[in-house]
Amino acid sequence: MPATTETSPLLVPEVHPPPWIVQVGLLTRRVAIEAFRNPVLILNLLLALLFLVVYDGTVGGVSLLVSFAGGNYYNFILPAAILAASVGGGAAGLLLVSDIQSGYLSRQLTMPIRRSALVASLVLTAAVQVVLQATVVVLFGIALGADPETGLPGVLCVLGLAFVWGLGFAAYSVAVAVFSRDMQATAAANLIFIPLIFLSPLLVPYEYLKPWMQTAADLNPARYVTEGMRSLLIEGWDGQMLVDALLASLAFAVAMGALAIVTIRFRSLGVEG
């Protein structure tokens, strides 16, 4: 048998993997093909639109709330529907579990692909998905009567906040997926959005929450994101509100990203390196 020598193709591979950013681009394209063919996307969107209609129908007639919303309750409740749409970020975890269970993740792990590129592609696709859903929600809200005070630039800022928030939610679902490797557990973990959005001044202004609820809201990043979005939709440009909202959503994204990385190291996606 021929022995391995210095000139052997074993030592001089033809394969030169593309740079990290190209890997992320290629992988994101693939994940998007899977994600945007999933009917769950439509269900999440319908849920978010339902939020908008149902809450307006339920409490939109309360004159006190309407006065806080500058006479337009849709402006007040729109962030609730956008945060509900952020559940779409959970698609990242569900796609990962699907790849684990189908054996496709194993194939990817044997290829010269960076682990971080794999995770980034999932999180990025899910965050884009959140933004697309949020866009539909905002357009639907405007069609119903919402009238954003800051106009198109303000709406773009709202969508930017939704994107960063979506990154965090997607990273959280990836962490759960890697830990559980189970579709049902990952889907159930996405229900964390319920305490996140209800333990915040989403339905009534912060001042009207009970003290314990205010404490919970203080610790909840969703409060600051909601108030930031609301300020853009109702009051106009408020630098402090925007900075708080951006910092809260960034902190959420970074914390959940760190959780995902720790979980991946703990539960090992193959041998690293």
């Binding site: 030592l11 193959g270 041998v271 690293e272």
Partner: protein
């Protein structure tokens, strides 16, 4: 130094309390241009060997190398040199056959036109010309396996790691793949494949190693000897 080398590799799976280890102090060398068949019953440790060499799992002790590169400490260098087809077909369902091949070729660093060229070559090679535009989830199990094997060959790796590679293929496809793998072996590719098929082993392997309970029961044994042993008292093996 062999193209593939395992030095006293041991592996147990957590949660298998009281169970024997999957691999116990296993040492094995496969040279370039050699095709080694790992035979054994279920649970003999064949897939564990493939997983460790494919950088999917790390040994508890001992060392595994591909072309001298450690599968744990130099995993990324190992991954540029291996083509892998595991027992479970690893292809994503929503993509179309041609799209999947080109996507993987790009991930192996081929530019757009080279990826298209190589993708078309593999379509021909794997007998996928009739299904190039079909989505993977619409393919039959055997066709999906052909695509899976095509992906393993896509970047023309010097080392192929295959786990029961042709078990789900029809006889014609199986023969075609054996011929192709034989050509690659003769051209210097090192092939290690886990199998339970003596026919596959006879066609492809120039060396046979039998594992029992995570250790080598016999190395460099002929297929005839294996057949004789297996047709005897199976409980011995």
């Amino acid at each position: 130094m062999g193209a593939i080398q395992l030095d006293e590799v041991s592996k147990s799976y957590s949660g298998d309390n009281g169970s024997p280890p999957a691999l116990s102090q296993l040492s094995l060398t496969v040279e370039a241009g050699q095709a080694l068949a790992l035979l054994g019953a279920n649970g003999a440790g064949k897939s564990t060997v493939v997983h460790i060499l494919a950088t999917l799992s790390r040994p508890d002790s001992g060392r595994a190398t591909i072309a001298g590169f450690d599968t744990v400490k130099q995993a990324s260098r190992v991954r540029t040199r291996i083509g892998v087809a595991l027992q479970d077909v690893g292809v994503y369902g929503a993509g179309r056959v041609r799209q999947v091949l080109r996507h993987h070729a790009r991930l192996f660093g081929l530019d757009r036109s080279a990826a298209a060229r190589r993708g078309d070559e593999v379509i021909e090679l794997a007998g996928l010309t009739q299904v190039v535009g079909k989505r993977v989830h619409r393919l039959s199990g055997g066709t999906r396996r052909r695509l899976d094997l095509g992906l393993a060959l896509l970047h023309q790796p010097p080392v192929l790691l295959l786990d029961e590679p042709t078990s789900s293929l029809d006889p014609f496809s199986r023969r075609d793949f054996w011929e192709e793998l034989g050509r690659l072996r003769d051209a210097g590719t090192c092939i290690l494949f886990a199998s339970q098929s003596l026919e596959e082993t006879e066609q492809l392997a120039d060396r046979v190693t039998v594992l029992v309970g995570g250790v080598i029961w016999r190395d460099d044994i002929s297929v005839a000897e294996v057949r004789e042993a297996w047709s005897g008292d199976a409980s011995d093996h």
